[in-house]
């Protein structure tokens, strides 16, 4: 599931730490003006224009915990095909490499690929495909 030389982006949502494969991350951005999407689920707050790319903003705290987003200050633009998705996260942490991972645990969760054990704690490696599937199911 993880390969040597892969790098992961760590961020925090609802007090938990998550990780994304850097290859799935297109850009990290400040909060931008959002434009609401009619008849969209509540977790989709709207669309934003990130350097010319239109992306739907997924309120990740609400989507994960069904709680309103707190002090979210960053958007993580996900690499995708035609449509782009921006994850609303609370705090960006840092980028880690495979060497920083001491162990990888398997988890039974549609939204997670694995549990990365680090020196200063652990992080849930998000499954973007599963996330999108789950998001599509919510419509």
């Amino acid at each position: 599931m993880t390969e040597s030389g892969r790098r992961y982006m760590l961020f925090r949502v609802c007090g938990r730490r998550f990780a994304l494969d850097v290859n799935e991350v297109a850009e990290i951005s400040e909060l931008l003006p959002e434009y609401p999407i009619p008849n969209a689920p509540a977790c989709l707050r709207g669309v934003v224009n990130i350097h010319g790319r239109v992306a739907a903003v997924l309120d990740l705290p609400r989507f994960l915990g069904d709680v309103p987003a707190g002090a979210c200050r960053s958007l993580v633009l996900i690499n995708g095909g035609g449509s782009a998705l921006a994850l609303l996260v609370e705090q960006m942490e840092r980028m880690i490499g495979s060497a920083d991972i001491t162990a990888i645990r398997q988890v039974e969760d549609n939204l997670a690929l694995a549990e990365l054990v680090l020196a200063d704690g652990s992080a849930t490696l998000l499954d973007i495909e599963g996330l999108l599937s789950s998001l599509e199911k919510s419509f």
Partner: protein, 427 residues
Amino acid sequence: MYIPIGYKFILGILLVVAAVAFSPDMVIALGYSREMTSILAYAIALTTGLILGWFLSRRLSRNIGMITDSVEAISEGDLTREIEARSMRFPDETTEMAASINLMTESLRQLVSQIRTASGQVSDAVNTLSSSTLEMNATTEEVAKALEQISHGAENQAEMAGRSSVLIHELAVSVELVAKRAKESAQSARDTTSTAQQGTDLARQTMELMKEFLETVEYTGQQFAELNGKLQKVGKIADLIVEIARQTNMLALNASIEAVRAGEYGKGFAVVAEEVRKLADGTSSSAAEILDLVSLIKEDSVRVRDTFASSSRQINEGKKKLSSTAVAFQTIVHTVMETERKAESIADLSSMQIDSTQKVVKAIDEISKVAEDNAAATEEVSAATEEQSAAMQEMAIASRELAILASELLKTVERFRVPEEQFAYHD
């Protein structure tokens, strides 16, 4: 016609001699014999002599008998009788003697009556004197007791006067101590006045210092407010630094993403981006620490500001209280001056009291002396009263003896009987 008894005898003798001389001639004339004539003449002369003798001696014997009876009755104490001498044609010495005896009897009656009356009066007077003497004796004894009490009272008075003198002496000493203490109090009051004046000056100086301190505090507060404003600016700058660091971090992350995307060519750039991110992270941490420090400083400044405000309030309160203290000191000064004046007045009054006390001591000493004299005089009077009591007792004895004498006298004169109408005294 008064004819003494002797003349009557001479006249009778002359008549007998005349009868003897003239009877023979008369008998001769009768014609009897010589012898008969002689016998008749002698018989006539004898008869004449006997008749004259009987005539002359009858009255005389009767009067003398009456006188003798009267004198015997008088000698027996009977003074009731009187010689009732018959009236005589020719009174003689017996008539006068009877009258004299009657007069003597009357005089004796009056004397006995007077003696009886006087004896009764003496007896009554003696009884009265005896009772008076007894009363006087009782009164004298009461007087003696009263004098004894007076003497005892005088002794007590002298003793009390002595004690009073000692007490007054002690009082004088106490008053002297009071005067001394009053002077010391006046001196203390003066010292207190000076101290209170110094306290007033100190309070005024302290007020000025507190005013300066308050101004300093206010200035410090202003400076602190300025410092607080500057701290807020520091906080804003730190916020800005944090934001810049965050953005730098984000840029570093994006750079890292781009470096990863560049593959092998981007490794060096990734290292640089990571270093930048670390710097941004460190900057953010430092800025966060700055913010924490600013926050702590703000909290401290709030506390300091509150402390300053509290101190200002306390200082203002202190100023008010100090002002009240200054006023109180002024009041103390006035009060202590009044106290000083009163203490001096007490000292003056105490001095006057000392003089008065000394006079009282002198007067009490004189009273003590007078009381002692009174005690001595009372003892003398008591002795005199005892002598008087003894004299009264002697007088009572003499009265009883006098009463006995009066009784004996009365008993003696009771031997003489007098008519009741002449005994005028009745018990």
